[in-house]
Symmetry: C2
Subunit: 124 residues, 2 copies
Amino acid sequence: MSNRKAKILDQDGCQVRVVHLDHVKQAKEDAIPENELNRLALMFKVLGDPTRLKIVMSLLNREMCGCDLAAFVGLSESAVSHQLRRLKDLALIKQRREGQILYNALNDAHVSNLLEIGLEHIRE
Amino acid sequence: MSNRKAKILDQDGCQVRVVHLDHVKQAKEDAIPENELNRLALMFKVLGDPTRLKIVMSLLNREMCGCDLAAFVGLSESAVSHQLRRLKDLALIKQRREGQILYNALNDAHVSNLLEIGLEHIRE
DNA sequence: TTAATATATGAACATATGTTCATACACTAA
DNA sequence: TTAGTGTATGAACATATGTTCATATATTAA
């Protein structure tokens, strides 16, 4: 492991100081593709809003229609609908229609795992 | 399970339509405390920025100092420092000083688990 | 002490975000 | 078809957010 200070050129041609050239190089090699990174960040960001998180948490144990969710989180049905769309776009929830009513549920086990691990982390 | 439409009063005294009174009631009983919800949302939000997520992902396999991280993500050391503080505030990373250099690492297994499960989700 | 390096921080700016409002669509019952 | 209900969506607004810049602090070497 090098502790020598080095100057390298970044992708824009600017000089950048680096302490551990090898670390930076390896990190770049390991990095996931940019579209995956952005999609992963977007998924976390969608979970990172209290309203949406409260909706998702409530779906851990039951299905809920938009109407119920609006009453539960204390917002308009319109606001809830906007949020549900974002959750659906990232496959965090799935929807099933029964007549006029659209039931929302968690999409798969990944989502509940994320919630559980996240809760463990903030509780320790 | 009731399918009868009902009108109830929310905590602000406004009339709210509810399809499944029992679902809403149970969801309210199950709900985690508001401060936990907000903290959990904040944790996801902090992971939900591409810059911070790229930093955290790079720490999966090695320690990195702020200097290296700035070169890796292609931003100023100041910008990186701001982001590292947010990550540290939520105990997502920990820091260890060695002389002038502050090494950053993931705080615990929860963080790497969250990243792995998140990646699985977006890749399926 | 002085200079150099690594990191931290407050203020300011431009951009992004969530809710509201008005309106439109989808499904059902009469 | 008509009316009623559940959901969706675009625009607009106020707020929140991330980066930049200037500056400050901390550690080490000379």
